[in-house]
C-alpha cells in the first residue's frame, strides 16, 4: 500500500467460505423484437471466453466469466455473495482440478471465480471451491464519502494507487460510460450482484462496445453507496464480469468496487485498466 493511502486493511477479517460450482442454466430470454432465445451464460464453467477476452459478441446470455460458485443454503449463499470480494484468492477443493488457485472476479446470480485455462478445463459443476473472503468494511481513513464494495485490499492499490497533488484518489479505468448505460441493477444493494450496462445503444460513446471481461469501468452520474442510483456529481467504478444479454435492459455486468463524489477522485482512462493486467492468480489474460 502506498504511503499516502492510509486504509483500514489491517483490521479486516478474512473469512473462509466454501461454495459449489453451479450447473449451467438453460433459461429462455425474450429479445427486444419478441423472439424467445435460449443461450448458455449463467452458471457452469466457461473455458472460453476467459478474463481479458472480449465481453460482447458471444452467443450467450449474461455469460458469467470463469466458474460460477454458489451455496445451496440461502444464508450461506448470501454470505458468499456479499463477503466474497474481487481479488480474493480461491482454491478448488474437489475433483480433477483440486488445488487449482484462482481469484474472485465478479458477482451476479453467483460469485464468479477465474482460474487458469488448465484448471477451468478440468473443473466441473458440483465441485467445491474455497474462497478466503476479505474486503467488506474496507475504507480509506478520513475519506467517508469514498465507499468500497466487493473490493479486496489486494485489489485497491492496483487500480487506485495513490493521490493526486490536490488530494484526490487516482482511479484507473478503461472506459467512462454515461448514466444512460445503467440498466437492470438500479435499486439493488450495491454490495452484491451487479449493474447491467446496456452498451449497445451508446452510439456516441467511444469504445463502449469493445469492452473486455475484467475491464475497469466508471459510470458517471451514479452513486452506489447503499443501493445503485443515478445521482449527479457522483461516480461508480467496477469491473466487467458478465457478458451481453438477449433481453433489452440488460447488458455487460459491472460489479461495483468503488463509489465517490466526483470531486474526491481523479479518473484516469488507460486501456490496460483491467483485472487481467493485475497478475492475480488464475485471472491473468
Amino acid at each position: 500500500m502506498t504511503a499516502d493511502l492510509q486504509t483500514n486493511a489491517g483490521r479486516l477479517l478474512t473469512t473462509r467460505l466454501v461454495g459449489v460450482v453451479q450447473q449451467p442454466s438453460a433459461h429462455v430470454s425474450v429479445d427486444p423484437d419478441g423472439f424467445a432465445r435460449s443461450l448458455p451464460g449463467m452458471g457452469g464453467v466457461f473455458v472460453r471466453p476467459r478474463i481479458g477476452d472480449r465481453a460482447g459478441g458471444w452467443m450467450s446470455d449474461h455469460l458469467e466469466v470463469g466458474a460460477s460458485v454458489s451455496h445451496p443454503e440461502p444464508s450461506a449463499d448470501h454470505a458468499l455473495q456479499v463477503l466474497a470480494c474481487v481479488g480474493n484468492r480461491a482454491q478448488v477443493l474437489d475433483g480433477p482440478a483440486a488445488g487449482g488457485i484462482g481469484t474472485v472476479v465478479g458477482k451476479h446470480a453467483a460469485t464468479m471465480v477465474s482460474f487458469s485455462g488448465d484448471v477451468l478445463a478440468a473443473l466441473a459443476p458440483g465441485e467445491r471451491v474455497m474462497i478466503d473472503a476479505v474486503g467488506v468494511g474496507l475504507r480509506i481513513e478520513y475519506e467517508p464519502d469514498i465507499v468500497f464494495h466487493s473490493c479486496s485490499p489486494v485489489l485497491l492499490p492496483l487500480f487506485a494507487p495513490s493521490r493526486t497533488g490536490d488530494g484526490r484518489l487516482r482511479v484507473k479505468v478503461a472506459r467512462v460510460l454515461p448514466p444512460e448505460a445503467a440498466a437492470a441493477g438500479i435499486g439493488m444493494a450495491a454490495h452484491s450482484a451487479n449493474l447491467d450496462l446496456q452498451v449497445d445503444q451508446l452510439a456516441g460513446t467511444v469504445g463502449a462496445a469493445d469492452l473486455r471481461f475484467g475491464d475497469l469501468v466508471a459510470v458517471e452520474g451514479h452513486e452506489h453507496r447503499y443501493g445503485r442510483q443515478p445521482r449527479d456529481a457522483w461516480i461508480a467504478v467496477g469491473a466487467i464480469c458478465h457478458g451481453r444479454s438477449v433481453g433489452g435492459g440488460h447488458g455487460l455486468g459491472l460489479v461495483t468496487l468503488l463509489t465517490a463524489p466526483t470531486n474526491r477522485v481523479a479518473i484516469e482512462v488507460t486501456p490496460d485498466a483491467s483485472l487481467a493486467s493485475l497478475e492475480l492468480p488464475g485471472a491473468e489474460a
Partner: protein
C-alpha cells in the same frame, strides 16, 4: 376525441383466478434509506384502506404502496409472475369469490429482475366498503382482457397492460401519422430505474430522480399518465434513443436508494409515432375510480 381503429373485436377475455396477497417484507431487499439509515415502511401487498386512484402518491409514509387490494397468482413462486400477473390489464374487472363485483385493475408492481426478485402484484381499486370485507388469501377473479390489443393504423406502437376500455380513455389523438398523447410529466431516460430489463407485462418502471428536483414529482397522483423518453417497452423495457413509453402511475415512492414511484407502461413505440405533450391534468384516475365502484 376520434376513436382509433383497433383489433378489439379479435381479442379474447379470459377469467384468471388468484388471491389477495399477504402483506410482505421481503428480506432480500435493502431496508435502508439514502443515508444508510434503517427504513422499514408498509406498502407491499395486503389490503390498503383509504388509498385510492387519484390520491397524491406523496401523502403517505409508505414504501412502494399501491391502492386498494394487492392481488397475485395463487400458489405461484413469488419471484416468477404467473398468468394473473401476465394477463391482467388496467381497466379489467375483478370479482370476489362469490362472483360479486369487487373493483378494477389499476396498476402493477414488479420485482427488480426476471425470475429473481419479488414481488409481482396487481392493484385492485375498489371502494373502502368492499375492501373492508377482504382478507389476505381470499380468492378473487380477474376478467382479463387486453393481451393482443393493437392499433390497426399504428403497427409500430405496442400496447401492454391496457384493456380496450382504458384505451378509450387515454388522451390520445392521431394527427399526421403520429399519436399525440398528453402526460403529466415527461421523464428523461436516465431517471428510468427498477423495471428496466423486465418483460413489458411485468410490474412497472420506476422514476429514480430523487436527487434531481428538476423532475417534479410533488403533485403526482395514482392514475396520472407519465412518459419516459428514450425507453422502448414493446417486449422488454430498455434504453433506446428515439423511443417513448407511456405509463399510468401505479405505486408510490420509496425511501430506498435507486427506487421511486412506478408507472405501469401501457403504450410504447418510436418517437415518430408517439408524441407526448405536457398537461397537468392528464390522468385516467377518474375512470379507474368510477369503474372500481361499479356493481
Amino acid at each position: 376525441m376520434t376513436r382509433l381503429r383497433d383489433n378489439r373485436d379479435d381479442i379474447v377475455a379470459v377469467a384468471v383466478a388468484g388471491r389477495v396477497s399477504d402483506a410482505r417484507l421481503h428480506r432480500q431487499l435493502l431496508w435502508m434509506d439514502d443515508s444508510g439509515r434503517s427504513c422499514v415502511l408498509p406498502g407491499t401487498g395486503g389490503v390498503v384502506l383509504g388509498l385510492h386512484v387519484g390520491d397524491r402518491i406523496n401523502d403517505r409514509e409508505a414504501d412502494h404502496a399501491m391502492v386498494g387490494a394487492s392481488v397475485e397468482d395463487a400458489g405461484a413462486n413469488l419471484d416468477d409472475p404467473g398468468a394473473l400477473h401476465l394477463l391482467s390489464c388496467l381497466g379489467n374487472r375483478v370479482r370476489d369469490a362469490r362472483g360479486v363485483a369487487l373493483g378494477v385493475v389499476a396498476g402493477k408492481r414488479g420485482g427488480l429482475a426476471p425470475r429473481a426478485f419479488p414481488p409481482s402484484l396487481v392493484a385492485v381499486e375498489a371502494t373502502d366498503e368492499r375492501l373492508t370485507s377482504l382478507v389476505p388469501g381470499d380468492r378473487i377473479v380477474v376478467e382479463a382482457e387486453g393481451r393482443g390489443l393493437g392499433l390497426c393504423d399504428f403497427p409500430e406502437v405496442s400496447l401492454a397492460n391496457c384493456s380496450p376500455r382504458l384505451l378509450d380513455q387515454l388522451p390520445l389523438q392521431a394527427s399526421r401519422g403520429r399519436l399525440e398523447i398528453t402526460v403529466k410529466i415527461i421523464i428523461p431516460a436516465r431517471f428510468a430505474g427498477p423495471g428496466l430489463g423486465q418483460d413489458a407485462w411485468i410490474g412497472d418502471l420506476e422514476i429514480v430522480s430523487r436527487h434531481h428536483p428538476a423532475v417534479d414529482l410533488n403533485d403526482l397522483r395514482y392514475g396520472d399518465l407519465v412518459a419516459f423518453q428514450g425507453i422502448d417497452s414493446a417486449n422488454n423495457r430498455f434504453y433506446r434513443p428515439g423511443f417513448v413509453s407511456v405509463g399510468v402511475v401505479s405505486h408510490g415512492p420509496s425511501q430506498w436508494p435507486g427506487h421511486g414511484p412506478g408507472a405501469t407502461i401501457v403504450l410504447s413505440g418510436p418517437a415518430e409515432r408517439i408524441a407526448p405533450a405536457n398537461d397537468a391534468d392528464s390522468s385516467v384516475a377518474n375512470c379507474l375510480r368510477t369503474w372500481g365502484a361499479e356493481s
